[in-house]
């Protein structure tokens, strides 16, 4: 039997975030982030076991690019091991730097976060065939859309959503980071969701995968 080495703790911020508070500014966001970092007003939702080969199968369907062997990337990112690139022996052109100072790619950490989010939904019993990934279209004419759109009603019965009185679809924004969680990520995600959440029945989710010191996930429920 293979022993599972990696586990991902996913927490939920207990109070749904109201978009009307967005205009309170940075202080409101800083308080939320402080709560998360001090484990206040959050509950442990689930601990996800991470198996070899699993993230790649989610990555194929639900992320913008297919990162081969993303599971191995995840393990490196998770443990924080930083493989160094070799320095070429010849001199550099003026004003250029070697890429060897770049250890982790934001692209890859974003894809790890998106794969983890879908894994979380699948694990909670949501029909992932009814989850649409809109991230690739955001670069073009659809910059107003969130990363994911969820059309499965059963999401409402999961602990991710605190009310049954909400309408489909549910929108989701996903952020990934190889450092900690911060208010900038939350800010951006809330601004994005505020473009699609209009009524008291609309709901959104924000999932942030961050390192503390290993990967953790936090879910915020968002309402009007």
């Amino acid at each position: 039997m293979i022993t599972v080495q990696s586990l991902l703790d996913v927490f939920k911020y207990i109070t749904p975030l109201s978009l009307t508070n967005l205009f309170l500014g940075k202080l409101w966001l800083e308080n939320i982030i402080n709560d998360v970092l001090r484990k206040r007003n959050i509950q442990r939702l689930i601990t996800l076991p991470l198996y070899p080969g699993l993230l790649e199968l989610y990555n194929v369907r639900y992320t913008e690019k297919w990162v081969k062997k993303i599971d191995e990337n995840f393990l490196e990112y998770h443990s924080g091991s930083r493989p160094l690139l070799n320095f070429p022996t010849y001199p550099l052109p003026r004003n250029l730097k070697y890429l060897s100072t770049k250890f982790f790619s934001g692209d890859v950490s974003g894809m790890i976060a998106e794969s983890l989010f879908i894994y979380l939904l699948d694990h909670l019993g949501v029909n992932v065939n009814l989850v649409g990934h809109l991230r690739p279209y955001k670069r073009g004419r659809a910059a107003f859309l969130p990363d994911f759109v969820i059309w499965d009603r059963s999401l409402v019965t999961t602990p991710l959503i605190s009310t049954s009185n909400c309408q489909l679809p549910i929108y989701a924004e996903v952020k990934g980071s190889t450092c900690g969680v911060n208010e900038r990520q939350l800010q951006k995600a809330l601004c994005q969701l505020s473009k699609v959440i209009y009524t008291s029945q609309d709901r959104g989710l924000i999932f942030i995968a961050y390192k503390n010191p290993n990967y953790e996930g936090i879910i915020f429920e968002v309402e009007q």
């Binding site: 039997m1 293979i2 599972v4 967005l22 205009f23 940075k26 076991p49 198996y51 070899p52 080969g53 699993l54 790649e56 199968l57 989610y58 194929v60 369907r61 297919w66 699948d122 694990h123 992932v128 065939n129 009814l130 989850v131 649409g132 809109l134 279209y137 004419r141 659809a142 910059a143 107003f144 859309l145 759109v149 059309w151 679809p169 900038r184 800010q187 951006k188 601004c191 505020s194 473009k195 699609v196 209009y198 009524t199 609309d202």
Partner: protein, 219 residues
């Protein structure tokens, strides 16, 4: 509901692109676009919402020149919300955007010839990618199938493999090795990914092993 249906279709297309089945992707796209006479309504909604977004961007640039970063994003959201008179249009706009994308994909596919051989079996299809002495077999299983992990494990053990396995509710992973080969199987229905390394490279042997694995899995 068409908004739901199109999301399912897109996911089905992504699975088939992973498999490399261009013919099937063309078929799915063409059938969907032919069946849907109301595509223009959704595409129109997308154009309307996109237009509102452009207006909001322009107004934001004119009115809040000094705003940067968070303040700019906030003002843009505010302006955009004011432009959207019927929030239900947003749902339609998402469907419209995906339809535009399907149309574009359909045109692009006209120029692409099927590039790999898809092996069709009664309840699954697969592609084999060769990197001798390694072989990657991508399998797409049709319909609702219960996976018989125990049956597969038994079969591999009968064939002399030593193995390690993980068998969870939705996902299974098996690593099997013998004196001649090393195999990794990842199963997340409808996708099964099989990576085979052979001491003596042979596509036929890899294919035989791959079929044996799938047949035991869905028997």
């Amino acid at each position: 509901m068409i908004e739901q249906e199109i999301v399912e279709i897109i996911n089905q297309i992504r699975d088939n692109l992973w498999l490399g089945d261009i013919r099937r992707v063309k078929e799915i796209v063409t059938t969907f676009l032919r069946m849907k006479e109301s595509t223009s309504k959704f595409q129109k909604s997308f154009e309307e919402v996109y237009h509102s977004f452009k207006i909001a961007q322009k107004r934001c640039k004119d009115l809040y020149k000094e705003h940067k970063g968070f303040e700019y994003e906030l003002s843009l959201s505010k302006e955009f919300r004011e432009q959207i008179k019927e929030p239900s249009k947003l749902k339609e706009a998402i469907a419209g955007l995906l339809m535009f994308d399907l149309e574009k994909l359909s045109k692009r596919l006209e120029m692409i010839e099927p590039f790999c051989e898809i092996v069709q079996k009664p309840s699954y299809q697969y592609t084999i990618f060769e990197y001798p002495s390694k072989y990657e077999i991508r399998v797409l299983i049709e319909g609702r199938v219960e996976c018989n992990i125990k049956g597969l494990v038994k079969k591999l053990e009968e064939k002399g493999f030593k193995l390690s396995k993980i068998n969870e509710r939705r996902y299974s992973y098996i690593a099997a090795f013998s004196m001649q080969s090393y195999i990794e199987v990842s199963i997340l229905i409808p996708k099964v990914s099989i990576n085979i390394s052979l001491l003596t490279p042979s596509k036929e042997n890899a294919q035989e092993l791959g079929e044996m694995i799938i047949n035991s899995l869905i028997s």
